[in-house]
Symmetry: C2
Subunit: 612 residues, 2 copies
């Protein structure tokens, strides 16, 4: 006999999010409700990471499973802990507390940022029509009668998939249908009035993370968000190793493409489930990404982006049918790529322009999006210069002895007071390592406290926090206090790695300023784009010359600019059409061929007292 | 050690066709050269049908195989007979005679007919360009540089498949490429200069036969032809049973669609092999068919064509990418459907208009395309009336006791002289039955010889050729002389079946004439369209009122008008654009709703002396 599923409801604390559904495991319900909950083993019961505490419940849960008896301690069981993948709420409702260690959230993605509000003017239009029934006195074919009711010209195209469904839908609906048009192409015919159901998604395909927002294109409202790791990291953390892998043989490119498409499909599924919308109602997608992600997603080899002169295959605004990209949305809907600026400066940078709107301001602004390759934009309504600074992975916690990504347990901010290191970790759990924003703070503090020189050398190896057995290292936290094995430390080599990275950034914006014909001090506004930017301590970023030293109130945390910029273009074809004009103002500067590059770079590496 | 294949050459008689290739069986060589040769067992050596005679040879053949020793008589072996599937020409060249019994040809498809010559103006244009190599001083993306060299606007689209190949092809070719454009869409980029290689195919999807012509779209020349049975006959000989089958469930429609697509792919493969052309160089396809074949091939249900008021889903000129129809040609090429006139009068009739050009003549012409449903067109440059006459399958030899299709052994013409029946069979072999053209002759002769009355009854059952044990039947040939078991005869019921069919035709053209406001005698020209028409004895057709009685020299055997008309549209976009204007002149007449239909039909069934 099939299991009877009853309607249940769970409140997940501390967020207070309520998820309703049919009887299922807590993990399933959490996933459906986009509640952050770890489940590394995919619910197989092997990782034991999804511990949750049942605070109260009205109704019934299943008995403890054998897996739970193995994975949970007696104390935990006494305190009402369960594994979310095993605990099933059979009826009624309950309140569940998710302890920090069970939250999948690394650092919460900052949704705070620039307002991406624009008047909705979607690319897909829907028209509700009623067609007279066919008869011997009107024997025109279905499509002809449809077109004539729509008053659209004979040249109006229709996709084959829509045409094959047309006769059935017209008759099933009693000749009362809603027609979806993309430009002068009929992409859907649906029974009844569905004019209110036009949804779209904006996607930021990052090298390490993919972010997806679902938008109601009638109201312009963002109705769901989801993000996932970019599984391509299996084939290399950095862009260069992915280019290498993809270029080796055609199958590899196909493999990387499928990974991205699958991830986007997973995210579409997630945002659609969150909001109870059918993926078939998603007619439009606009995506951004660096040039390599952009190419791989479209199935184009990134090989020639990887070798001088770093030429992309396509940089314009291009659109392709969703079905050609095997996306789980309306197959006749379109997928639009935001233009690229150059081989190493992708459409994420263009999204940054769309959202910061520096292209329409008189004052000169600087936009910095920090990553392994950091995109830097400088300009105003007259002209915009763009470059990519190869800042390396140290901002993402890589190539640093105790470095880690910005996930649970990472030290994200540091202060040194009276010789003591004070820090905060993500999720307030025991520290496991240090992430990018923590490194910025740490190096700035070490310099401010005169523990290191401007070139990153320890001044005095007898400092109580410096261990010298072997390579000298500054100890942030000792092993017995960490959630990890071993000390959390930083070495001169680590500091040097970081100085090279931040030097690259400074080189970028100083060369752009020079090219623009201004002093960095003439920059009126700085936008820190991307979620990393929002976690940076501004004072320390200025000390380290990551950004020019301007007034605090003129520095803007722009938030998730990439997906936000894509969303502007998604919501409005008017904004999409602007892109060409905006890009005419942009000039790409290839740093590596600049004569002053080496000189400026060497001068930018040390921490210096005289700013700019 | 792999067998060394040497270059060989075979002339097949009596056609005198020379096929060159590498050492292979004669059957393989014949198939490659599209030489008509039977091979029912597919070359397995079991059917023994592919007997051929080696007339002379320079070079060597393999020894007789054991299979040949079994299948061939001693006399045959002495006369140099071989089985084509066993005999392998190892080197040199030879001349081979194919006796009638080994020819697969049913009746030769008549290629004689109207001249389909038009000035080539293909839909696909190719442009050979040389692009400057990319460098740091020109970092525009590949596509942008391509477009700028082509001087085409930024809106020019490119298919995803072409874009993904672009970077590789540009570099492999040394930036020297040929671009294929379909309208303002880039559909191919090929290395070097391939401007001379633009091929297209025209296809006639008949209910029983599919015909395919390969055309060089630069010269306009037809370079290969192939045809195959429509395998859908498995699901019913007539259109109605295919509509029924396709409407039962969606999988059935898919099954019928695949059968047609597979057949077309087989024919594409065949014409491409004959002419040594890659299917990738076939960029354009134009097809015609009755409404049901048209819909099924596009994957659209024919259900509503089958029920009153017989409405097609689409009747306009529509085009779809070849890849959406899983065709084995250039996937980015387009497949264009010639418009339909109505539910029961398909694009084959439109092709008949294109090729007969009655739409541009002052005099009034009649076009008759005889089949299970016969399309009839009447008109001139002012107006054209069209109808479909449900003439039934007797013209195709069905529903007649000794009836058969027009294949080897069918009696195709008959004369009665001095009480003796004189006939000719297809391929001059022993008779197996009688096909449509034979039935026309036979009935006309029986009437002329006063053996039957005008209503098809035997006047005198004691006639020496009439057998009366059981149902009375006129004996054409007795069993001991036929290649079949049993006599070849015709009964009153058979004759009646035929009279109903021919009556339907006459009803059609008399109603059209009435609607047009003329007497049938005012028709100045009659075009007999389709390959069936070319085998009809004109005098007998006039006696039986299949066509109006006009002067012999004003009756035109129009030949394979359907595939020919499609070819006109294939060769010239100018002609394609004309279609809309031509169709504005056409008015569809639904015979079944005409008041005078029943009266006229009953009057049209008997054979009458007063013509028209």
């Amino acid at each position: 006999m099939p299991e009877e599923k009853s309607s249940v409801s769970v409140m997940f604390e501390p967020d207070g999010k309520v998820v309703s559904g049919t009887s299922d495991t807590l993990l399933e319900l959490a996933l459906n409700g986009n509640v952050s909950l770890r489940g590394e083993c995919g619910g197989a019961g092997t990782c034991g990471k999804c511990r949750v505490q049942i605070i109260r419940h009205y109704g019934s849960l299943n008995e403890l499973t054998r897996t739970e008896e193995e994975k949970l301690s007696d104390d935990e069981i006494k305190d009402g802990y369960r594994l979310a993948c095993q605990a099933k709420i059979l009826s009624g409702n309950c309140t569940v507390y998710i302890p920090p260690g069970s939250r999948s959230a690394k650092r919460e993605i900052s949704a705070v940022g620039l307002d991406e509000d624009v008047t909705p003017e979607p690319a897909v239009k829907k028209i509700h029509i009623h067609i007279g029934k066919s008869s011997f006195s009107d024997i025109r074919p279905d499509l002809e009668r449809l077109r004539s009711e729509l008053r659209c010209p004979k040249e109006t195209e229709i996709s084959l998939g829509t045409l094959t469904e047309l006769p059935k839908i017209l008759r099933k609906s009693g000749w009362d249908v809603t027609v979806g048009m993309y430009g002068n192409r009929i992409i859907s015919v649906e029974p009844g009035d569905t004019t209110e159901e036009i949804f779209g998604i904006s996607v930021d395909i990052g090298s390490s993370k993919v972010i997806c927002h679902l938008v109601n294109l009638i109201t312009g409202e963002t109705i769901a968000r989801a993000n996932a790791e970019n599984p391509q990291v299996m084939y290399g953390e950095d862009i260069v190793s992915r280019i290498t892998y993809a270029s080796r043989k055609p199958e590899n490119l196909g493999k990387l493409r499928r990974l991205i498409a699958d991830t986007i499909n997973f995210l579409i599924d997630s945002v659609c489930r969150q909001s109870g919308i059918s993926p078939e109602s998603v007619y439009d997608m606009v995506f951004v990404g660096n040039s390599v992600m952009h190419h791989i997603f479209l199935g184009i080899t990134p090989k020639y982006i990887g070798v001088a002169p770093f030429i992309p295959a396509v940089g314009d605004l291009v659109s392709f049918p969703a079905k050609d990209l095997s996306l789980n949305m309306n197959g006749e809907g379109l997928v639009t790529a935001i233009p690229l600026i150059g081989g190493y400066i992708g459409s994420d940078a263009v999204a940054n322009l769309l959202i910061t709107k520096i292209y329409e301001q008189d004052e000169i602004s600087l936009v910095i999006d920090i990553g392994t390759n950091s995109e830097i934009l400088l300009g105003n309504s007259e002209k915009i210069l763009a470059c990519s600074a190869p800042s390396g992975p140290s901002f993402e916690g890589a190539h640093i002895s105790s470095g880690m990504k910005a996930v649970s347990g990472a030290i994200e901010s540091v202060k040194i007071e009276d010789g003591n290191v004070i820090y905060r970790t993500i999720d307030d759990v025991k520290p496991k390592g240090i992430c990018g924003s923590g490194v910025i703070d740490l190096v700035a503090e070490l310099y401010r406290e005169k523990i290191i020189t401007g070139t990153g050398k320890f001044r005095d190896l007898s400092h109580p926090k410096i261990k010298v057995d072997g390579v000298p290292e500054f100890v942030i936290e000792e092993s017995f206090d960490t959630g990890n094995n071993g000390d959390i430390t930083i070495t001169e080599k680590d500091i040097n790695e970081f100085l090279l990275a931040k030097g690259s950034l400074k080189t970028g914006w100083t060369i752009l300023a020079e090219k623009f014909g201004i002093e960095p001090s003439q920059i009126k506004k700085v936008y820190l784009a991307g979620s990393f930017g929002t976690h940076v301590n501004i004072e320390n970023a200025v000390i380290l010359d990551i950004i020019p030293g301007i007034k605090r109130e003129n520095i803007v945390f722009a938030g998730e600019t990439a997906v936000g910029g894509a969303k502007i273009a998604l919501k409005s074809v008017h904004e999409r059409r602007k892109l060409e004009k905006i890009l005419e103002k942009v000039e790409y500067i290839e740093l590596s061929v600049e004569k002053s590059f080496n000189r400026r770079y060497i001068r930018s590496i040390p921490i210096s007292r005289d700013k700019n």
